[in-house]
């Protein structure tokens, strides 16, 4: 009657009793945790192997302009955390904060707009028919194609950068929202109604609630696109931000700083994605 995950639950519930000999339930729970441990180990080993290849390659090449060693990169990263780059500019910290600020502004605005558009499309047939082709046309376009246009229209200030991020985020969020709302099983909505939920309650507590995991998954994809857009636009039209630092450092052949910038982006991207994954976990099981 119980499935596997259920046995795991019962096992953990039985834990505080602390029997002298391990019970069958406990042994069963041991197996997955051991497997999980070895999986973590393998992932760590993969990272370690990549670092080793980098290190060995840098020793063989022995030219820090082509490939700096890990130590050089780390010391450059630490150095420019407190030293401005370029000399009249700001520290890596502030560059990272500038990029992060742009990302979050564009991402939040784009997500709000995209979810609103998606919700309108899912509830009103005419709106869906009107907007769907526009999204279908814009979605395959890389946001980067709009950079020159936005610079002409909005200059090289912050607004063109934030709008560019929104250009990438809005269609992704609109599509994710429509499909999340449309795929909520009819039986959930009918179950809510026969159980006595009014229309508004049923909309918020069943339909929207059931769609939330799909919407947050859309946000994770949109976040990736946001990073692509911001780094690209910072390379073309900016005097601050991690993308700007990477391009500048590249032109002056400070390769270790290029790597530092890349590491910062990957770190920030990982942090933001982890936050979204945390949100997803907080929402509980989706099916």
């Amino acid at each position: 009657m119980l499935n596997d995950s259920m046995r795991g639950r019962t096992g953990s519930a039985a834990r505080p009793i602390e029997p002298l000999a391990p019970t069958a339930l406990e042994l069963e729970e041991w197996v997955p945790s051991q497997r999980q441990g070895s999986r973590l180990l393998r992932r760590g080993l993969g990272l370690l192997a990549a670092a080793a290849i980098w290190e060995i390659a840098s020793v063989i090449i022995s030219d820090p302009v082509i490939l700096p060693s890990i130590q050089t990169t780390v010391s450059t990263l630490v150095h420019y955390m407190s030293t401005p780059y370029p000399s009249e500019g700001s520290t890596l910290w502030s560059h990272a904060l500038v990029s992060l600020g742009r990302i979050l502004t564009g991402f939040v605005l784009g997500t709000v707009a995209g979810v609103a558009i998606g919700a309108a499309m899912a509830s009103v047939r005419i709106i869906k028919d009107l907007i769907d082709p526009i999204i279908e046309i814009t979605r395959p376009l890389p946001p980067l194609a709009f950079i020159p246009l936005f610079i002409v229209w909005f200059g090289i200030g912050e607004s063109s950068k934030i709008l560019l991020i929104m250009t990438g985020v809005i269609p992704i969020m609109a599509i994710a929202t429509v499909s999340a709302l449309d795929t909520v099983p009819t039986e959930f909505i009918e179950a809510g109604r026969v159980l006595g939920a009014g229309r508004a309650y049923n909309l918020m507590h069943v339909r929207v609630r059931a769609a939330l995991p799909g919407i947050v998954t859309g946000m994770r994809i949109a976040m990736g696109v946001s990073w692509t857009s911001i780094v690209a636009v910072e390379m073309i039209a900016a005097t601050s931000g991690v993308g700007y630092v990477i391009l500048q450092a590249g032109s002056y052949l400070v390769t270790s700083l290029v790597f530092s910038g890349i590491i910062i982006i990957s770190f920030l991207g990982l942090v933001l994605d982890s936050l979204l994954r945390l949100l997803l976990r907080f929402l509980g099981p989706a099916a």
């Binding site: 499935n3 009819t186 009918e190 159980l195 939920a197 049923n202 069943v206």
Partner: protein
């Protein structure tokens, strides 16, 4: 919503259908008459089974009783009043348990009271009692995905019963379960029915299930869905539980023969009307 069932109207008819017809208008195709001119009354505390071939409109009829769909013509009354929408007094169980995956078993059961703004301690106590009743007391904090198929249906039962419905509508709820689990669910349903004395309308396509559960068995024919015949179960509720008795076998044979007649009759209809009702399900039939 009243916490206890009002007593007025009991002894009469819980559900009363008069010349109920449901026509689905479909884009680019001929309108489909899913239910045609059905008149039927469900007495207070009665257990009625609706049986018939696929596409005979029994599910559509049930969702109209629930208030999820409106009849195109005719009237359905619940305790004398025309049904205008869903009502927690009329609970419904679907083909799938339709538990909300993001809620624990306990929170699923509490959905109805919370949606109606009821937060009194009596409801919490009732939720606890119902979870004991359906054998899920130890799983109240589990999520639906952690439950087996039978356990999910038990949880769905508790969720429907917390509203203390006067009528329970069941749309082939056990069709997807294995034989052993189905049997224990049928037993649970009978226990619940005798304990809470509600009216039950049970849609099935299983002859044994219909003869075991139903005080009356309504046989429907398809295209369009209408009542072919109504069979009063001659065997008493207690005696029915002995499913291998000679009377039960004879009853099953009788119902099966009638069902076969209905199937043959609908198969002999002209091709044009068969094309108007393709497949086994009614398109859009469950959407209000």
């Amino acid at each position: 919503m009243p916490a206890t069932r009002p007593d007025e109207g009991s002894g009469g008819h819980d559900l009363h259908m008069e010349h109920v017809t449901k026509v689905f208008v479909r884009r680019g195709r001929r309108p489909l008459t899913a239910v045609s001119n059905v008149s039927l009354s469900i007495g207070d505390g009665e257990f009625v089974c609706l049986i018939g071939p696929s596409g005979c409109g029994k599910s559509t009829l049930l969702s109209m009783m629930a208030g999820l769909a409106e009849p195109t013509s005719g009237a359905i009354r619940f305790r004398g009043e025309a049904i205008t929408g869903t009502d927690p007094q009329r609970g419904m169980l679907f083909q799938s348990p339709a538990l909300f995956p993001w809620l624990t078993v306990h929170d699923n059961v509490m959905f109805g009271p919370r949606a109606q703004g009821r937060r009194d301690p009596a409801v919490t106590g009732l939720a606890r009692d119902l979870l004991v009743k359906v054998g899920l007391a130890d799983f109240k904090d589990a999520y639906p995905k952690e439950l087996s198929g039978g356990m999910k249906h038990r949880a769905a039962f508790a969720r429907a019963l917390i509203n203390q419905p006067a009528v329970l509508l069941l749309d082939e709820p056990f069709a997807a379960l294995d034989a052993i689990t189905r049997q224990s669910m049928q037993q649970l349903l009978l226990d619940i029915w005798s304990e809470y004395s509600m009216s039950i309308v049970f849609v099935t396509h299983d002859v044994s299930e219909a003869t075991l559960l139903g005080d009356r068995v309504v046989l429907m024919s398809s295209r369009p869905g209408q009542i072919h015949s109504v069979l009063d179960n001659p065997i008493g509720r207690a005696a029915r539980r002995d499913i291998d008795s000679a009377e039960m076998s004879a009853l099953r044979r009788k119902l099966r023969t009638e069902l076969a007649e209905v199937m043959t009759a609908s198969a002999q209809q002209p091709a044009a009307s068969a094309a108007a009702a393709p497949g086994t399900t009614v398109p859009g039939g469950r959407n209000a």
